[in-house]
């Protein structure tokens, strides 16, 4: 992993789940790791530019903000994948979309203010693309959601 050294890993481990909500967050991290604030900042800028950090910001439970979310899966023939993906991705509430190797080959998440809105959008997507095999699989129980990767 030439892109990262051990100090980068220490910085990344820290800012994934314990980003200081303080006036000078990178100074707090620098003091804990034993670096200068500038060194920490330079590393974070470089890791962002290298694409290792996708973003730095807040992550939310949609339900606590008055939104609902679901996972959808569609059976899409090879020659219709681009059209289908383009149609689906057009919705701002579709935040993740992956092609996976299964008969149900397109999997996307959908967030909206209500399930009715999601269902009506799925109907529109079916009409526009001719793809009718779309599963709507809202979570009924959450056992774990974590996004921290020990490096």
């Amino acid at each position: 992993m030439p892109l990262m050294d051990d100090i980068d890993r220490a910085v990344l481990n820290r800012i994934q789940s314990d980003f200081p909500i303080t006036s000078r967050p990178y100074l707090s991290i620098a003091n804990d790791i034993g670096l200068s604030e500038t060194d920490v900042l330079n590393r974070v800028v470089r890791l962002k530019e290298a694409g290792i950090i996708r973003r730095i910001g807040g992550n939310f439970f949609p339900g606590k903000l008055g939104f609902v979310s679901t996972l959808c899966a569609a059976k899409v023939p090879e020659d219709k994948i681009s059209l289908f993906a383009e149609t689906v991705n057009h919705y701002p509430g579709v935040t993740h979309n992956y092609q996976r190797d299964n008969n149900f080959n397109i999997w996307f998440t959908f967030i909206a203010p209500s399930m009715e809105e999601i269902e009506s959008n799925l109907e529109k997507i079916s009409k526009e693309t001719g793809i009718t095999d779309i599963l709507n699989l809202p979570a009924t129980k959450l056992f774990k959601v974590k996004a921290h990767f020990d490096l």
Binding site: Q16, I21, G57, L65, V94, Y98, L135, A139, V145, L151
Partner: protein
């Protein structure tokens, strides 16, 4: 659902994308919102304490950080065992997400786990361990072949400068 003030909605909008990577990122955001840095920090802490902010910090592209492969594993679990199995699977460190979802006629699976590892064979090995541990032997691994979209949700409109 939690009732949010207009200021809280603006604050959420200001951190739902990327915050600046600078010495005082919260000062910049506070100035944009027309509040003091102190107020912003206090409100952010409050939103975290209330669980509205699930996690604040960096999201990595794990493909570039040593976790090249990921698989969604869908499991068909006997309904009376769902809670025990879900909790057991969630306790594995290789499992980042674990949900129950309603099965359908076309898709009989009811537990979903995301597993991350260095390659696909390692993902299969993790699934075999989860299976052995829980005695659930009907499952399917769905490897991602292509990322078609990955963004963060824009819950509230962003305040313009």
């Amino acid at each position: 659902m939690i009732n949010l003030t207009e200021l809280e909605k603006k604050i959420i909008a200001s951190i739902q994308g990327d915050i600046p990577i600078t010495e005082r990122p919260f000062l910049e955001i506070a100035q944009r919102l027309g509040v003091t840095e102190e107020t912003l920090l206090e409100k952010l802490q409050g939103l975290s304490d209330k669980g509205v902010i699930r996690r604040f910090g960096a999201t990595l592209r794990h493909q570039k950080s040593g976790f090249e492969a990921n698989a969604m594993v869908a499991w068909k679990v006997r309904e009376e065992q769902v809670d025990a199995v879900g909790e057991n699977m969630a306790s594995f460190r290789e499992v980042s997400h674990c949900y129950r979802r309603e099965p359908t006629d076309q898709w009989p699976y009811n537990i979903y786990t995301m597993v991350h590892a260095k390659d696909e064979e390692s993902c299969r090995e993790i699934a075999r361990r989860l299976s052995a541990e829980t005695s659930v032997d009907t499952y399917t691994l769905l490897f991602s072949r292509k990322e078609l979209k990955k963004t963060s949700m824009q819950y509230f409109p962003t305040v313009e400068n």
